[in-house]
Amino acid sequence: MFTIIGNVFKNLRSKYATRLYPYEVRTPFDGARGKLEIDPDICIYCGICAKRCPANAIAVTRKPDKTWTLDPYRCIVCSYCVEVCPKKCLHMNSKHRSQEQ
């Protein structure tokens, strides 16, 4: 009738299922999509990433200065821009954007 009793006793004897965050932090998996980063020396400001972004989060200007801006609140971390970049200057960091920024 009370089939859960065995499970309850087992849980009372075992250790925590949760991690003591923030003292223990999980290492992210390789290839996890956390946030977008750019290497500005290689970028040629072609604007392909801005055209392809589904959320319109990237803005690229060529005149009067060459700028590349990312709106982090709009970015959906889909990494479509990483695929289409012809110079491969964009990459995904596996750690998510933290509160300090």
Partner: protein
Amino acid sequence: MAKNTIIPFGPQHPVLPEPIQLRLVLDEERVVSAIPVVGYVHRGLEKLAEQKDFLQDTYLIERICGICSFIHSLTYSMGIENMMGLTPPPRAQYLRVIWSELHRMHSHLLATGLLADAFGFENLFMQLWRTREHIMDAMEATTGARVMLGTCCIGGVRKDVSEELLKSVLKTLVTVEKELDEHMPVLLNDYSVKQRMCGVGVLDKQVAYERGAVGPTARASGIAMDLRTQGYAAYGDLDVEPMVETDGDCYARTKVRVRELYQSLNLVRQAIGKIPDGPINVPFKTKPDGEVISRAEQPRGEVLYYLKGNGTDMLERLRVRTPTFANIPPVLAMLAGCELADVGVIVISIDPCISCTER
């Protein structure tokens, strides 16, 4: 003469994961009828899909729902590939099947956990969601994200999975199966659970067919309907059969979901055993033109996509009919004649996904 009172159930209710309002017409403690009021999460996604081109729509379509997101993008990609005459390579088809079945497992674990929470069994709710975390880790390790996978693209999949990762997925499944063997007998055989679920919310087979029930709601009433038997993606090489129960009450719907969990475990193991080597997508240069209808089996039932293209980048019309949209009229039939205290259990037993319904 009894006086009828009207009580609003929702939109904020501890039992509901998403907002929907049901106006219950009550006679003392018994529900006479119910009127649904929806529209709390309408985001206008069909309009937004016409403003973006068909390649960006792949990312938008995933975000219609968080629980069945991969299968939305799978159905969309299958529709566009049909329109353009593309065939994805076999390795991509098998990877799509593996991710679909992992998605189905995490969705059913979520649904049974919420059902346990609906009648107050919080311990079982936490245990089932802890099992679900193993599957979310497997999805993050293979694709890079836990919920919105972002791997299905037009022509195949975007990311390949190495042999070691597939072996680690198999090891995760062994842990998951052990935990399922511990928890599922509690859900199905416990005396207090059966008192709350047996005989509650009965849906007759004829009523279910006429009102258009799909998914586990229909299979629990005796209708053997499962679109995976039609063999889209790589399901033609795997053996799938619909899990059918005949009682039509909440207990039967839960039992169908539990049996499908074990079936999905088997399907993932079969797919990993049979996956061939090869490329993962085909290149293309054409634009979508014409009309097409594509269907797939989501965890909650049958989803239908109607796509119309006119030869340019933008699609002319994208229409989505999700399974919970079709399951609302059967719920109104189930609620007639039940007690007020059972309304929460009945609504959760069809596994409502209101953000899918309203897009």
